[in-house]
Symmetry: D2
Subunit: 283 residues, 4 copies
Amino acid sequence: MQQCGSAVRSLKPGDPVALEPGIPCRICEYCRAGRYNLCPDVQFAATPPHDGTLAKYYTIPEDFCFKLPANISLEERALVEPLSVAVHCAKLARITFGSSVLVLGVGPIGLLCCAVARALGSSKVIAVDIVDSRLLFARNYAATVTYRMESLSPEENASRIMSSTGIGEGAEIVIDATGAEACIITGIHALKRGGMFIQAGLGAAKITFPVAQLCSKEGSYRGSFRYGPGDYRIAVELLKQERISVKELITHRYDFSEAEKAFENVEQRHGIKSIIYGPDTNQ
Amino acid sequence: MQQCGSAVRSLKPGDPVALEPGIPCRICEYCRAGRYNLCPDVQFAATPPHDGTLAKYYTIPEDFCFKLPANISLEERALVEPLSVAVHCAKLARITFGSSVLVLGVGPIGLLCCAVARALGSSKVIAVDIVDSRLLFARNYAATVTYRMESLSPEENASRIMSSTGIGEGAEIVIDATGAEACIITGIHALKRGGMFIQAGLGAAKITFPVAQLCSKEGSYRGSFRYGPGDYRIAVELLKQERISVKELITHRYDFSEAEKAFENVEQRHGIKSIIYGPDTNQ
Amino acid sequence: MQQCGSAVRSLKPGDPVALEPGIPCRICEYCRAGRYNLCPDVQFAATPPHDGTLAKYYTIPEDFCFKLPANISLEERALVEPLSVAVHCAKLARITFGSSVLVLGVGPIGLLCCAVARALGSSKVIAVDIVDSRLLFARNYAATVTYRMESLSPEENASRIMSSTGIGEGAEIVIDATGAEACIITGIHALKRGGMFIQAGLGAAKITFPVAQLCSKEGSYRGSFRYGPGDYRIAVELLKQERISVKELITHRYDFSEAEKAFENVEQRHGIKSIIYGPDTNQ
Amino acid sequence: MQQCGSAVRSLKPGDPVALEPGIPCRICEYCRAGRYNLCPDVQFAATPPHDGTLAKYYTIPEDFCFKLPANISLEERALVEPLSVAVHCAKLARITFGSSVLVLGVGPIGLLCCAVARALGSSKVIAVDIVDSRLLFARNYAATVTYRMESLSPEENASRIMSSTGIGEGAEIVIDATGAEACIITGIHALKRGGMFIQAGLGAAKITFPVAQLCSKEGSYRGSFRYGPGDYRIAVELLKQERISVKELITHRYDFSEAEKAFENVEQRHGIKSIIYGPDTNQ
C-alpha cells in the first residue's frame, strides 16, 4: 500500500517521484561535508547486501524522492537515475557554456553525457565509438560531430580526432564512458592543456596510462562516482524544461514477470535502455 | 653590466632578486586566463632552444624578478625556483590547515613539498622513500612520520602506510615526486576517498594505472607543471617568514668554472642540491 | 585603411570582429593572475583620458578582436559588448542549470542578464521593474515571470516577490541592474540562504544596506566590473548558437553624422539600445 | 551520569571533547549539500527556544563531539567554539599563505581572527580598534601591525591604514568583527581590488554602505554565520599543533553558582573571555 510516514511534509500517496537509490549515513565526514556519494556506509539499492528497487513497494526517505511534474512520463521517470549520473559527470567536469567536450563511448551513459553537455551549451560535443550505427544515433541525438575509432594507435586516433572535428589543440573536457584502455589513452592525447578528463563509472581495473602526456598539459584525470547533492534535482529540471529528451533511448520494454529477460537483453547489449514495468503498471 | 630598462619602476641595479625563468607570450588564451605556465610559446630558460641562466648577465622582464628581503641569503635565493615548484603542487592540491599529505620520494622536490605542506599546517606529512638515510633526513627536516617502501606489492605497501602512520582511510592529498610506477600505484591505494593526487613533474611516460581504484573513490589525479601566478611570491614569503628553511638542502657548492662537475654530481644523485656560484660571486 | 600588423596570425583585413575595448598592461599582478579587468593601467575606450571607438579606423591588439561567424549580423556584433557584461555577471554569480535568478531592473543590461540566465538553463528568471511595458518586454524576451515593484517597503516587495513568483525561500542569485537603494534592499531580502547578489555596474555611491539580513543568510554581495578572460568568447558563442537573440533590443539606428543624437536619445531613456552606423556602412 | 548511546563508536564516557552546539536536521537541501550552518531547522544551543549547554549533563550526537588530545587543557577546550567562528571566517575569506588581512575590532572574535590569519601564514595581519590597550594586546598576541581609528572620515582612516601599514593598494581580505558602520565603511575603502570582505557575526541591522567603492574594485562582501563542516576539526588541530594559543584570552573565571555574574561581566565588556566552571569541576 502506498503511504507516507507521519513526518513527511512534501509528498502524499500517489505523487509521481523519481527515487535516488543510495541512502547515506548522514553523520560521517563525507555526509556532513556534502559529498554523501562517498559515504562508506551508504545503502545503495542493488549493491549487495542491499536489495534493489524491483518490487511492488519500496520504502525510502522523503528527501531521496524527487517529485516530478506532469510533463515527465512514467517511462522518462525511469531514466532520471542514469541522467543523474551524466549530470554528476558534467558537474565534476565543470562543463559550462562554450565548452568543447569529447565523449568516448556512446552507450546509454555516453549518450546522456552528450545530451547534458549540449544542454549546458557546449560548443562542440564530439561522440567517439567503434560502431557506426551508434555514432549515427549519437549524431541525431545530441553530438555535434562524431568520430569512429580506427585500428590505429591511440596517438594517431587522437590526432585524427583533433584535426577532423575542429577542436585544434584538444577538448577542454573528455568524458570516457567505456573504461577501455585504448579509449582512455586516446582521450588523454586529445585533451587540451589544462583540461579535465572524467572517468564515468569505474573503468578497467588497470590500464597502461600515459602519465607524462597528462602531466605535461597539467591535466586532471578524475573519477565520477554515482551522484551527489543537487544532481537529481538538475536531472528532473532538464527533463521538465525539455532541454533533454530521453524517450528515444528506451528501446525495450518488459513486464514485471519478464524482468529476467530484461537483464539478459542488457547483458547482450541489445538496444540502448530496457524498461521493466512495475507489477501494477500498464505499458 | 647590471642595468634596468627605462620603464622599470620597482627595481634598481644591484637589488637582490629571484628570477622566474619562463617568459610567456602574454596574449594567448592561457596567459589571458592566468594560467601562463601552460602558454605554448613560453620561453623557458634551459628548455631548448632557449639558453639557461648560467651566465654573468641575464635579461628578464621586471615582473619576472622577485625582490628579496635581506634575511634571505644568496644561496637561499637559488632555491626559490624549486621551492616555487613545491608551492605550485601545494596550490593545485589545495593543501590547507589540517590536511593529511603523503609525499612519495624525498629528493629535493619531495622534501620541499613536505616543507610546504608542514608550513601550511598539514596535520600529517608522511614521507615515503626506499632509502633510509633520505627518510631520516626528511623526518628531521619536515615530515611528521616516514615509511620505507618494502619489496611488496603496491597494495600491501599502501596498506602498511595507512596502518602505520595513523591516516586510517588514506591521505587526503598524495604528491608523487618519483614518477615511478610502483610509487604512483601505492599512492593511489593510499589516497582517501575524494582525495587529490598530484604528480610533481612529468612522471614516467607510461605506467600501469589502477583506474578502478581511483574512480571508486572519486579521486583526482592531476599533473603539476612548473609554477604560475603568485607561486614565486609565496615561495619568497615562506623564506622571509622563516616558515621554511632551505639551507640544509644545499650539500654541494661549485665555482662557475666547475659548472659541469655540478651537473655530473646531480646526475650521480649525490647529496640533495648543488649550487653553482656566479663568475663574480664569492662562496 | 584596414590592415593587420605583420605578427597577426588569426585575422586578415575585412574579417568581421567584435572588439573588446579595454587593453590591460599584461604585466601587473591582476593581469598575470587572469583578472585583467582589475588592471589599474587598463586603457579602456571612452573612459578618459582614452578616446572611444567612434572612429572610422581603430587600432587594437589581435587578442582583443573576436572573429565572428557569418550568422551574426553587423547590428548584432555591436551588442557583443553589453552581452559580455551580462556574461561576466553570470559567471561571477555562478549561474548554472536549474538556478533561480532574480533580476532587478530590465533596461539593456538587465534584459541581457535575463537572457543569459535563461540560456544557461535557470529554472526561474524573475524580472523586476517599475514600468509595466518593460516587464511585458522582459516576459516576451527572456524572463519566466515578472513582478512590478509597488509603493511598499523593500521588505514587503521582497515578500510579495517570493510568494508570487514561486521561489519560496528566495532566489539563489540576485542581479541588480538599477543601482537604486530600494531595489538593492529588496533584492537582499529576496535572496535565498547562502545566495549570491551581483551588483551589475557601479550602483549608487552610498545606500542604506541591510547588513544583518545579508549576514544571517551568509549571503554574498559582489560587484561585477566589465568583463574578463573568456567572456567575449562566450558572448559570441551564445549568439552563434542562437541561444540568445539581441536584435529585438535595437530600437534606434543613427548615421555616423548623427552620433550626438544617439547619445541624447540614450540619455532620455528612449527605447532600449541605439546603434550608430560607421561612416562607410549602410544601414 | 556520563554515558554513551549504544551505537556510539568513537567515544567512551570520560573522553574530553569539544561540543559543536548546533544540531542540524540532516535532510534539508543545505544539510545535504554540506552547508548545515544554514539549516533552517537547526537546534542551536542557547538560541531560543533551545536551552544552552550550561548544565551538568548535556546530550549531543556523537558526530558533534570532537575528541581532544591531552595537550589541550580544560579551559582551552571552552574556546574551541569561538575559535571555530574565526576558522569559518578564514575559510570563507580564503585566507592562504601570504595573504594580507585587515581585522576591524579586536574583541575575542577579532583577536581569534588575527590568530588564525597568522597561523595560516598571512604576511600582514593588521589589527584596527579604537582602544589602545586592545591594540597593544593584539600586537603581542597575533597582529603584525596595528592602527588606532582616529576621529576622521572612514575614507581618511582607510587612507592612513593603507599608507601606515604597508599594504599599499589595500588588504586582500578584510574581516569586520565590530558590526559598526564606521568600521565597515573604512574596511571597504581599505580593501584591495578583487578583495573579499567578511562580516563576522551579524553586524548592524542597517548601515550606509559605499556600494560604488566596493563595485569599482569588483570586491565581495560576505556574511560569515557560525561554522560548518570541518571547522571544529581545524580549530582543534590549531590548538593541538600549538599554532594558536588561547589561554591568554581567558581573563575571568567563575564557579557554576556564579554564572550570572559571568554574563554581567561580559555585558560590561570587562576583559576578553570569561569562563564558567561546570558544577563538578575544580578551577
